[in-house]
Amino acid sequence: MKILGKITITICGLLLLFFTSDFPDWGDVNSPASTHLSPYFIEHTIEDTAVPNIVTSVLADYRGYDTMFETTVILTAGLACFLLLRIPRKDSIHRYYRHEPTGVTIRVEGDRYPKGSNVFTRIDSSWVPYDLIINFTCRLLIHFIQLFALYVVAHGHHSPGGGFQGGVLLGASVILFAISGNLRAAIKRFGEKTAAILSSTGVFIYAGAGALCLFIGEQFLNYSALGPLLGTDRIMARSHGILIVEIGVAMAVMAVMIWIYYNLSSAGKQDEGL
């Protein structure tokens, strides 16, 4: 297999290398790619959508349909990981508890675990002591990460970033919380059900905004139709429409990232993990 692989990639590689000679040079201003379609986007983004970040305007408006499915891809991945990995918790396995006042660790078999007790706290089977530095730093940072994420979502029009990057950052903040403490605490704060519903909702905001345009009487995703609803003219309606879908994207991406992390890091048990 290795030899076969080497032969294949050598042939493929040489072939591909050979055909690069026909390409326009790197950074060539007059290449077809730079002259055929993209000038339209660059020159018309402001007058069409009032968004200076051309990538955002192309992403969420001109090719907004692509992006809707891009978000759906993420949702699909989340659902897929859930479907593949998630196993309902079995209560027969043993669990570890710690008696807070004494620091004694006990192992409980079956479902005789101390319910609702506040002297016993559940700990992971691969328990590590409470790491002060990491925990503290993370607690300090999570807010700012989230704030920054929201900033990225909100300013996708003017600077790089947008719903997707902001969503990942938001998701990363919760992942950071899970890493710094333990998974159960994170799940308690941001439950699986929340993640699942939020992920659907996020994509639904996107697709729903599009469908709303359709019901108002224009094409699908044509945010100009939202103008009367938002009280703006058609161009600004596009700008605001982009913001709306960016928010949807951010929600979906955040939730899915968290959801996938929950499932991956706990092998589907959502009990204890990385």
Binding site: V128, D131, I133, I134, T137, C138, L140, L141, F144
Partner: protein, 113 residues
Amino acid sequence: MIILTSLVSGIMILAGLVFFLGGSIGMIRLPDFYSRLHSAGMLDTMGLMLTMGGMALYIIHDLTLNNVLSALKIILIVVFIFITSPTATHAIVDAGIRAGMKPWRKRGSEAGK
């Protein structure tokens, strides 16, 4: 004024580069993982602080609100790195201890323990 800030920031950037270089060299020369962390984690942070500071200084030579905010943001990055870098270093060291990695000791100081 412009010349002054340019000069200062240029010096700071160059100094930062020296620290970066020092950190990198330290990563090669030092004998074990723990001691390498000293140079990697710390000298890099220092280098970052200096280069960023230099650039923040340079950016405010043209004193507009946007530039000041940009400079502030650069400072924010430095602050952020100042908080995260030791934590990351600590996490790595902790991981090393838990993985059972023994620190390198000088042959002479073996008895000192």
